[in-house]
Symmetry: D2
């Protein structure tokens, strides 16, 4: 329950001109009615209710003494409440803070935390506007600062065609744009469950031959009836950890969590209309219980949504767990595993698990890509051993290339290339002598809503793919997978056809 | 030797208007003097010298019969030689091709390959200009095509501030730009061997809080004297594989390669002024010999440079290896491991191996980041176990975030986030009670020359960091590492300070 | 259903003296009543019912024509039915076989398989008795053969103290015993949920210092109140794979399996009183559906039990799956992962997941093991980084040593050291300055029933531990874990105390 | 230099009956001549030379005052020197000890260490004879103790046929033997570089069907001309770590080590006639320099030999490194990686890297193992994906089974199954329609000298294989690999032939 009124870490500060000390709490989860604030204790000094004012923002400031059971202070979810204390300013450094108050439903409560008053330092700072930090003056001040600081002029960086206010929630301290060239490939013929037909592919890249190579693969796939794409898994994670005194504590907790899923699920899902808790994997080691929460997240990639939902679930858990004391709790434990490659992501999905597959006709392969099915399959076997020995997270050629170019173009979180670069390539020569080629991308993290997907060029590229609007994320995932298969085919053919160098050499050597 | 005259795969074609058949070879490595072309055989048909003309380009076309020992055709390195055959057009599909000719130094030679005549198909194609494909009409044709094909209008994509001709070698089929917002963080105080002083950090991202969070970490590092950065390793790889009849063949080959390094090195280094072959790691398995060539590549990331150098070395090896027959050779084997995460890259470096380290003062940590050294170190231990169990390539928090934002801003090959996302985070509480924090990025792939580093906004961002011009790549690597440490500190503090939720809860629960 | 009547592969043979051809089927799962055998087809030759006799063993042979709806042939589970065909002998090599018959409940059925007649070869063979192969003459014949074959005499190998008939089901072609020395360590004070008190530890090893080193660790643990041991997980696996035409086929199959668990469970559990199906993990990749069946298996290690149970479950699945055709099915897919180390075993348990933990008092550590808590913990951190970089499945010192010695002594399947060698070591210096040490063994495969646990010396060693009889397997697992922690403490102390060499050296160097 | 006179940790003790205090040092590396012992300081108490006697063992005790430049005390390598101090007994707990003395070649030296006097505890102890602990009375005392302690009788454990004195250096606290049944398989036809001909294979196991299954594979291999076996790598490691103040310190140290290899090699090799230092791999991370010393070790497995050699090399390094201070040094760092599975062992060899390969004829495969080459190869591809996803260290079936049974039979260090269980299986269907099968065991740790190889039954089993005497270890490694391939063939065939169940089912389902 206490977690509903969460102290805002770092909010403790001296007000200007000796006007006292202030700090804030925020209501996170449920409406609360405050019926009294008894006192606040700062280190060893008690600040009585009479010296406390409560600021709800927007000019709504009340005396703490004005509250009562029939005059409660209503705090809806998300409400920030700032305490203004008529006391002398605090010194820089850590301070101990204790607040006592009453609520209607939860009775008497007290919170104790430590927080610090930051010391001032005289360093140069990047300009930041107190008011509208995305207005032209703020941006220009930063541009000027950068030019002054570095003694350089920036011409291209300043050129952008959109309203910077659109960037709120996407980029702080905005100063300009990186212009990343976009090349067109395709159209690619996709036979998905969500994507059907031909798609023109925008690839944002600075790497020469990338667009041409993917395009070559797409032409070959098109001639064989296109690429079949399927989303076979979907889960976004956050993985908190709970620390106990011993292994038994962790194990018993794990069992309780499994039994309590019906109670945990609504708590997790209370924070969003979209996030749905699928299941929790519990991993035990030493005295730790790692919980890996798996959610579906609609058209969003969902990392933030899932973080909030997991936090809410954990708040409930922390409050209700009746067993051995939980010694520590962290919202993340490297079991998610966000922004990094991992075996668990390969094995158990992160984001979308997508497959692209095609049967490439022998004659198309020979005519277009100058290689036989047997050559490509043979190289696949040899490089499988290579991937196994080198401990790679991908036994294919270069799926990250196409993924990255699509991610930049369409406003994905490009750092997720870390996870999305994993791949499982599989090939067979069919009884008819054609090449069956299949790539599984086990942890492709994509969105058609949220993040950078609504920005100017990014949204245009999503529109080019018909992936704007509700329910388009699986379509987008299928297209990405299809593009990746085209790239595997193209580069795989290029590498495996160099095989002729060797047989060729054997003719020549005798002469 | 034959590898010097390399058949251009896919060059076989029918000339327009029944003017015969043509194909090309290219001289790859050393000047060759052609003293005669005896005949070309196409499937079962012999084309005599009298029906062959040799086209050197630029209008220099000769009769094959005009060649002789005192009238040789000189082929410098890089020269393409096209054979024009006065024969009827070939049908679509594969054809067998055999060329016999003489050279001064290498005597009589013959080459046999298969190549295909592509069949025509009537599909829609993205417009491409025969002449200048980066001129405005070509680009506009593609933009129009995209709008027609998709029924959408693209306004922002078309907005760019540079001359598209600058994109040759960077992006085919150019149609516009992705505008990725850039935020400023820092300045960050770096104590490197190459980077010294304060640097303003341009981060291209669409992910909210990223810039702010890195900035928070930088402020804390600055207050502790900045971040010490060191490049501790440097190698770029290409990993060919040679297939033998049995394990003994592969093993003996490996020994010969080790003994022949003095001969192999100059061959590898003949293809570039910059690439220097450091050493070759040989990995044996089954009947395969995987060679992992390790180069230094100056200010370039070097993947292409290293590919060419390794190919030259392998050409020499294929020609000179006196042992058991090499049954197959491929220039890549998934041992490089390019564009993917792998244990070998973590262990044995890919690109730069860079370390950033700092001792963060206890009071700064508490005042600025609201966490004690012990809390941060403890969470580090718990998440180490998490990373170990989940099989992650990084036991830290999110180094890929800062790396990706810097990569997009500065024109790096962003797909290399796959490798660059690996990290080894280590922390200690010092005897003085401060926090020693260290991150090693074992496979950071960066460049200040080549790739996208010369493009408009990309180059400006490199200039902002003072990383333009010869000898700046290690400076850039150090800055990247410093930024990454700031991000680890900032997010690590945020996660580990949430620990208070638990102790807090224990106060509250009694009431 | 057909799977209930399973053709016995390899049973096809020519009977002696031209007495025709024979083959067998076996009823695997449920009683069946055969009402007629219509015909058997051998390659292109039809063998009519009149030429077929049915042999149930024990002299019960009937004419196929004698069967009828009111004269059925009753086949209980496990019954072998041999078909005797009055036809000329078959040539060596593969033959096609088709049987048509009727049953009461399942109607008309036909089976088609290929089987081979083995060719004879004249090689030397190890003697094998047709009758009792564990009687003295059979064993002596093999001993004599070995001595003749190798020209050596074997004195010690022939010395054993038990009745070889006890080895049926444990060792074919028995010739003698390896005498592995057993040393005693302990007693070790264990505070488990199943093991309580002091245990004398029999370690079978030929490695010097092993017993002494473990003993040293045990003494130190005893002085600190012993070792707390807990089983935190328990699952034995078999992992079949189903191959489909495409990814959608595999995905839809996975969903159906999840929905069909209530039907699958009883099928799996029909084959044993002990094996209980806990859950099935489904892993999808490419066009494959890997199912990882997780069972509890009582006091047995359970690999065989689980294989039978999974086969029964898969038989039901193969028969009842209504979706896309299953193109291939294999009972194992390297997802189990039996007899090998793997990330999945570390992550998701194989056999028992056991933890041993203790708080070692500072003064005991210093007096007995000559090291401080800080030294041991520091070395742990440094070797954690080592394990992370080297890709080890264990960040501790040598848990395999104690496990192997206990496994040999107590008749475990020693090849399971592959899985059982994994470990997660964790240490903390407590606020009191003591060392908290914890090891998790995530895939410890142990039994107190079945396998070699009932053999002569093996059973005695289990008796020494009080681990004979129903419900003792968790007790045994706890003891193993406790022993392992003793070894980690002992070797960890030895390695980390060598640290003094360095400080020591620094004194000396000045002189 | 000081390292040559190494203080024996734990040697500090009170002599019985108040006869003073004693401790020992040992000369590790080179003959030293002691010319004086000046004094010993115990905590704050100085013990003058007059109160010190020097005990060389064997009754040779001298007064410290009797030494002089012309009356030196000669300490050959391995000599233990015990200091007897006429002082009152020390209390239990840690004490500080300082010794000052002179030598001829190294001048004045002083050593300072801390060591503890162990407190007594009244626990039950396993009996140990002061004199001959391998004589019958000592062993019987332990047997009696075990029977008394556990209330059980042990009949079989006590039965052994050899002289227990042979166990010195192999097993402390000996109490009896585990009798592990040995079955015979083969003969197996091996075409190695060291093993040539037919070998009878002793397999020590308690797992039913193991011997029969391996035997089945051997018969099939024999019919195809046997198995070709090759040792392709050989290296045994110890991996110390050096800790510095920062990354630069570690990096510079790594460079110095590389440059100093000519000086380091003789130091490492001074400790054994057999161990030869091949090369040192340096792995840098954070502020750590991990050195992985690679040795060849003759017929021994070599872990101990290599430990001593590496320690000697590190002693020299610690003494001579002129750079930044080394803050910590540990002889092991989890980079070896002893007794555990790891990617580094798979990649870079530990022990022997051995390959076994064979081309199995189609008809033999069908007749003997009831499977086609295509079926076996197909299953191989499917289980490759399984191994890749599950993060296994072996993509084959069960190589650990054969390895473990051979290890127990022949006195190998069975705990090395951890490393030896790794495997890389590769198969191809040849153009002739046969099956090429190849397994690489990258880290097979074997010996024919040292460890348990000289014990009674163990040596007999090695003699059965003709692997006793100098230069036999590679022969043994080849045989092990050949056995492993037989097992892969046999089990692989069994699993992949179960495929028929599926096609079979499809016939039946229509009825």
């Amino acid at each position: 329950m206490l977690l509903k009124l969460l102290y805002t870490r770092g909010s403790l500060h001296n007000q200007p001109d000796g006007a006292g000390v202030a700090f804030s709490i925020k209501n996170r989860l449920d409406t609360v009615h405050l019926t009294s604030v008894k006192q606040v204790q700062l280190d060893d000094v008690v600040v009585p209710a009479a010296s406390i004012r409560l600021d709800l923002g927007g000019g709504d400031v009340r005396l703490a003494t004005a509250l009562g059971a029939d005059e409660p202070l209503n705090l809806p979810v998300g409400q920030v409440l700032t305490f203004l204390l008529a006391t002398p300013p605090l010194t820089a450094g850590m301070h101990r803070l204790r607040v006592q108050f009453s609520t209607d439903a939860f009775g008497e409560l007290s919170v104790e935390v430590e927080d610090a008053i930051a010391s001032q330092d005289g360093r140069v700072r990047i300009p930041r506007a107190e008011g509208d930090d995305y207005a032209a003056p703020a941006i220009q001040a930063r541009q000027q600062f950068a030019e002054d600081f570095t003694g350089q002029k920036y011409k291209h960086l300043k050129q952008y065609s959109f309203d910077p206010h659109d960037l709120q929630g996407n980029c702080e301290s905005f100063v300009g744009v990186a212009q990343v060239p976009v090349g067109l490939a395709g159209p690619l013929l996709v036979d998905g469950e969500h994507a059907q037909g031909e798609f023109l592919i925008p690839l944002a890249t600075t790497e020469g031959t990338l667009v041409a190579s993917y395009n070559r693969g797409m032409q070959a796939l098109n001639l064989c009836g296109g690429v079949k794409c399927t989303v076979i898994g979907d889960a976004m994670q956050r993985a908190p950890v709970f620390v106990f005194d011993d292994a038994r504590g962790a194990r018993d907790f794990g069992r309780w969590v499994a039994d309590s899923l019906p109670q945990i699920r609504p708590e997790a899902e209370s924070t969003s209309r979209v996030a749905k808790l699928q299941y929790i994997d519990t991993y035990l080691s030493n005295k730790f219980a790692y919980l890996r929460f798996n959610f579906s997240t609609g058209d969003a990639a969902g990392q933030n949504m899932v973080g909030r939902a997991t936090f809410a679930a954990c708040s409930w858990i922390l409050e209700h767990y009746p067993g051995a004391p939980i010694r520590h709790f962290y919202l993340e434990s490297n079991f998610a595993t966000d922004k990094k490659a991992s075996q668990i992501n390969v094995m158990r999905t992160r984001g979308k698990r997508v497959v692209a597959e095609a049967t490439v006709k022998r004659d198309i392969l020979q005519q277009r890509l100058r290689v036989t099915p047997e050559q490509l399959a043979y190289h696949g076997q040899v490089s499988n051993v290579g991937a196994f020995l080198s401990g790679a997270n991908n036994n294919g050629a270069h799926s990250a290339n196409g993924i990255t170019a699509l991610f930049i173009a369409t406003g994905q979180d490009v750092a997720n290339v870390s996870e999305s670069s994993a791949g499982v390539l599989y090939s067979e020569v069919t009884p008819e002598g054609d090449l069956y080629l299949n790539i599984t991308i086990p942890s492709l993290i994509v969105a058609t809503y949220g993040g950078g997907t609504g920005l100017a060029t990014q949204n245009e590229c999503l529109r080019m793919l018909g992936c704007v609007g509700p329910g388009t994320v699986n379509k987008f995932a299928e297209i990405v997978a299809g593009v990746v298969l085209a790239g595997e085919l193209s580069l795989g053919a290029a590498i495996s056809s160099s095989d002729w160098v060797s047989s060729h050499e054997q003719y020549g050597r005798n002469r």
